[in-house]
């Protein structure tokens, strides 16, 4: 095993102990990116001079000298965000010190590159990007998920051990599930959002994508600006919602998730009970309506018309479509939000976490991003928010934990959702799941990363 194959926390510990030279680690990371990135297109830009400067100025923080990557959604002092797109809608943004950049800098981390993302953050597959699609390291003909496609592909390919993404309608959790990683969507407002291009958002959060829960705890703490504690989760009360969240998923996904919950129940004395969420039937459309209209304030017909053909046809069409959404639909999405929040608040008096598959099917192909479910064949972009949108709609934290591989060898993820502010509980529960699965899924690496 090479140094870069170590988990994030072990890299940090080794450097802090003087067992690894951070300048050699940086050099190794850049060389590995050069060697492996063409196969996955995870990193869209490196900047050795800036990385060296970060290292030279790095304080002895919890991630001192550790190479990480950051999604193209976050501005850096030397590079404005491009959102995976060929053109900005409206005035181009300026470079600046975004919150995630500051957090990583102050932790002593070294940003070695900017990671790919789905164009404008408008998809859960990553197959549309001005840089070309990022590719799933488990099968490079398949989607790595989105919109944090590059961060997930980078960590799964072991280019880095930690990446900062953003999650507005599941955009950290879907890539985590598709790439066999652990991805945390924090409680709204708990992680830094400074410098984000949608400052008025009520859904988007920054968050970590890492190999396992302990690494997410470390990187998440950096983004939160606090050390996240841990505890045991014996006797945890788990709520499952009967119906399509489980029933309308591919059988292998259901089996892997159920087996993990059963193992958790046996090992920790956890209880599992059926619960219901009021307004659930509207969560898919409500989360999309809220999440995909918050950034429309700066969009004008003139700015849409100014987008050229180097912006994808889908993006140009969707922007037009969004301009036609009736205002009453947005108002009703707000009512769904109210219903769901009240329902969750009541539920979390009775259960500690909710559980269901992060995504209904493993990663689709890049050339056909539809998924086959018991109810029919759908675009992954349509189905994924049904599974993940509730957390963004309500503001609660959610995590995706790898729990198996499909018959095709593709990762599958279980999502856990907790009450506001209980991010640490999710990390504790994720670690418990890792233990009952004997770390089979979090320690596994695709063949591409085993070279």
């Amino acid at each position: 095993m090479e140094f870069l194959d170590l988990p994030l926390r072990e890299q940090a510990a080794a450097i802090a102990a003087g067992d690894a030279d951070p300048s050699e680690v940086l050099d190794a990371a850049l060389r590995r990116i050069e060697e492996r990135n063409p196969a996955v297109n995870a990193i869209v830009e490196t900047f050795e001079d800036e990385s060296l400067r970060m290292l030279a100025e790095a304080p002895r923080g919890p991630l001192y000298g550790v190479p990480v990557t950051i999604k193209d959604e976050w501005p850096l002092p030397w590079r404005a965000e491009r959102l995976g797109a060929a053109q900005h809608i409206g005035p181009p943004p300026q470079p600046c010190e975004s919150g995630p950049y500051r957090a990583l800098r102050d932790a002593g981390a070294v940003i070695v590159g900017v990671a790919n993302m789905h164009e404008y953050g408008s998809g859960s597959t990553g197959h549309i990007s001005a840089y070309g699609a990022a590719r799933n390291p488990w099968d490079t003909e398949r989607s790595p998920g989105g919109s944090s496609s590059g961060p997930a592909a980078a960590v799964a390919a072991r280019l880095v051990a930690g990446a900062v993404g953003a999650d507005g309608v599941g955009s950290i959790r879907y890539p985590a599930a598709y790439c066999g990683l652990t991805g945390l969507k924090p409680t709204f407002g708990r992680s830094t959002m400074l410098g984000h291009h949608v400052p008025q958002t009520t859904t988007i959060v920054s968050g970590p994508l890492c190999r396992d829960a302990a690494d997410c705890r470390l990187l998440g703490g950096v983004l939160f600006g606090e050390v996240l504690g841990d505890s045991q989760v014996d006797g945890m009360r788990i709520g499952v919602v009967p119906g399509e969240l489980w029933d309308d998923c591919q059988p292998a996904v259901v089996e892997a998730c159920r087996e993990s919950l059963d193992a958790l129940r046996g090992a920790t004395g956890a209880s599992v009970s059926d619960v219901e969420i009021e307004g659930r039937e509207h969560i898919l459309i409500a989360s999309i309506l809220v999440g995909q209209t918050e950034d429309l304030a700066h969009v004008t017909p003139e700015r849409i018309e100014a987008l050229g053909e180097d912006v994808s046809l889908v993006a140009r069409a969707l922007l037009r479509y969004r301009m036609l959404i009736p205002a009453v639909a947005i108002a009703k999405a707000g009512e769904v939000r109210t219903l769901v929040r009240r329902s969750l608040a009541e539920l979390f008096e009775r259960v500690d976490v909710l559980a269901w598959p992060t995504v209904a099917a493993p990663a689709p192909r890049l050339d056909d991003t539809s998924v086959e479910l018991p109810s029919g064949t759908y675009p992954a972009d349509y189905v994924n928010p049904r599974q993940g949108g509730i957390a963004n709609l309500a503001g609660v934290p959610a995590i995706s934990v790898p729990v198996g591989r499909s018959p095709e060898g593709l990762p599958m993820g279980l999502q856990l959702i907790a009450a506001w502010g209980r991010d640490e509980l999710l990390l504790d529960a994720a670690e418990a799941l890792e233990r009952v699965n004997e770390r089979r899924w979090v320690d596994a690496a695709p063949a591409l990363a085993s070279v």
Partner: protein, 69 residues
Amino acid sequence: MTPDSSRDYIESGLAVLGLDAGDDEIAVIQAVHAIYGPPLDALLAEGFDGILHEPGADMSEPPRTDSER
């Protein structure tokens, strides 16, 4: 909404906004609306009568109880 009526809606709606759209863009919009139209219609059909609004909703916190309003 039939494909023909959806095209009429899309084209006239965009025209009101001063937006052009080519056949390809219209086709994509129609395909997207065919998928999202039904859940959108279901949402629009809801009256949401009797729901207490959450004033000053803070997404980082649970909703305030009725006694805290």
